[in-house]
């Protein structure tokens, strides 16, 4: 199956490594993408918190482009984009008024039902055994805390793919890489999201709690599937360190990077060196054997 690809703004800039690793991984797994031509911002956060018409129109513009390009399924790796796209679709599906308004705005008629998938669905659908078959190394030294954040599984009534409170799909994918997962409490707790710049204090506090909980439950790496979460959990660790001096650096990886590692790619290839926190798989091996 061919997927349309909606990278979203973050993946072209602050979350470049997510884009890089995703492309590498899917290439290896034999999945192909068609980037949506001339895609624009999905309207995440800033638009929908201030102007609902604008946010629906921005999201639906991309769905419209996908439709025009003949794409039935699109994949939105950014959790915020994914959420905006499906919620907008749901809105226009449910309320004829909004549908009409949006169609008039974009001067189109939505015909097809373009399906939007998130990154977890992509890997679950394309088959976990693909990862297992192509695995070059088992990441058995890793104890991953799978962090879903808010927007991947909520609202469950619309996302319809996993449980909103006790999701398990990311664990399944991570376990396919040979890594261990930990059962922890803050899987779906919010990291502060778009407040990253305007209210960094909040983001630092919330992200700190999340990282601490992961550490308490024995994790040595956190896996995320959202560029906004990554920014908050990774980049904000410096600010965390300033506010909480005893904070120890904790690596945060994108799900695709983890899969990439298990497929035998190295950190540089996957863009892990672009993170603010340092992570080398070899170091983990060393650390663990030193402890053991």
């Amino acid at each position: 199956m061919k997927y349309g690809y909606f990278p979203g703004c973050s993946l072209t800039s602050s979350a470049k490594e997510y884009d890089i690793s995703l492309r590498k991984v899917i290439d290896k797994l034999g999945i192909s993408f068609d980037e949506i031509n001339d895609w624009s911002c999905c309207g995440a956060t800033s638009a929908h918190v201030t102007n609902h018409k604008l946010s629906t129109a921005l999201a639906m513009r991309n769905i419209m482009l996908a439709e025009q390009q003949g794409l039935d399924n699109i994949i939105a790796p950014c959790a915020a984009c994914y959420n905006r796209l499906i919620i907008s679709q749901n809105e226009i599906g449910k309320h004829t008024g909004i549908r009409k308004e949006t169609e008039d705005l974009l001067s189109v008629k939505f015909k097809k039902d373009v399906k939007v998938f998130n990154i977890l669905e992509l890997f679950l659908k394309s088959g976990l055994n693909k990862i297992i078959e192509n695995r070059k190394r088992e990441l058995s030294e890793l104890k991953a805390a799978c962090y879903y954040g808010c927007l991947l599984v909520r609202p469950a009534a619309i996302t319809k793919f996993d449980d909103a409170e006790e999701p398990e799909s990311m664990e399944k994918i991570v376990e396919a890489t040979g890594a261990d997962t930990v059962d922890w409490n803050y899987k779906t707790e919010c990291c502060g999201a778009a407040h990253s710049i305007a209210r960094r204090d909040i983001v630092v506090d919330l992200s700190k709690k999340i990282i601490d909980d992961a550490i308490t439950h024995g994790a040595n790496v956190m896996v995320v599937a959202c560029p906004m979460c990554h920014t908050n959990l990774d980049m904000r660790q410096r600010a965390m360190k300033r506010k909480y001096p005893d904070h120890k650096e904790f690596p945060v990886l994108y799900l695709t990077e983890l899969i990439g590692l298990s497929l035998g790619m190295d950190e540089k290839e996957l863009g892990i060196d672009l993170h603010y926190t340092n992570f080398k798989y070899a170091d983990t091996l060393l650390n663990n054997s030193a402890k053991g």
Binding site: S46, H52, I197
Partner: protein
């Protein structure tokens, strides 16, 4: 010193800078917090809030009636940013239910809502509180209510300006504009240079081809209700 005097003091010292801002920022003229302006705004807007029933307006925009909420407080209990808010999220709903629109619209709470949807998925009445907060913010902007969490609004405006101009988010422009709007020049110094060094921030924006369309979307949706 009284609060008003405080404001005047602040206004005086930052006056020039703010004028500069006003000329730079394309979205809306910065509202000077001088006494006259404040008064004028009050006369024009706030006292007319009751003219049109805000709760009806919210119901219309969100397709759910605010009377659904029975004030159990589960939303507030699970809200990750609850500790930073001035009033609990359920109280914002309460204010709207009872017609204390001004109190609700002036609250910081809607602006601090991170839209994580924890409240919406757990609400026993299936009331989508996140959506409700979106509508409250929207109406607060339209009514010209003074927004206490102005940095958050400025961030959103700066972000939308990038989208409007480029079609996609342009982070350098975003940060620059945000800084200009807030004059908070030192906040992200530890991350931005790092971003440049790591090659994550492009100095030039990614412009999409059909920027005309985006501009027209913005134009058509900016009309106030």
């Amino acid at each position: 010193m009284s609060r008003k005097a405080d404001e005047i003091m602040a206004a005086d010292t930052l006056k020039d800078a703010k004028k500069l801002q006003a000329s730079f920022i394309s979205t809306e003229p910065f509202q000077e917090s001088s006494k006259e302006k404040e008064k004028e705004k009050d006369n024009n807007k706030l006292f007319h809030i009751h003219e049109r029933n805000v709760s009806d307006e919210i119901s219309e925009r969100t397709f759910q009636d605010v009377s659904l909420c029975y004030q159990c407080g589960k939303c507030s209990a699970g809200c990750p940013v609850r500790y930073y808010m001035d009033i609990a999220p359920n109280k914002v709903v309460r204010f709207i239910q009872l017609g204390y629109y001004e109190e609700a619209l002036k609250s910081e709470t809607p602006w601090l809502c991170a839209g994580c949807l924890a409240c919406s998925v757990r609400c026993p009445k299936e009331f989508d509180l996140a959506k409700f907060m979106d509508a409250v913010r929207e109406i607060a902007i339209e009514k010209g209510v003074e927004i206490k969490q102005e940095n958050i609004l400025k961030f959103h405006k700066a972000f939308l300006d990038q989208i409007k101009n480029h079609g996609r988010s342009y982070e350098v422009g975003l940060v620059a504009e945000y800084k200009m709007k807030t004059l908070d020049l030192f906040q992200d110094v530890d991350s931005a240079p790092g971003m440049f060094l790591k090659g994550k921030l492009d100095l030039l924006p990614h412009n999409i081809k059909n920027r005309k369309e985006i501009k027209s979307i913005f134009k058509k949706t900016s009309g106030k209700k």
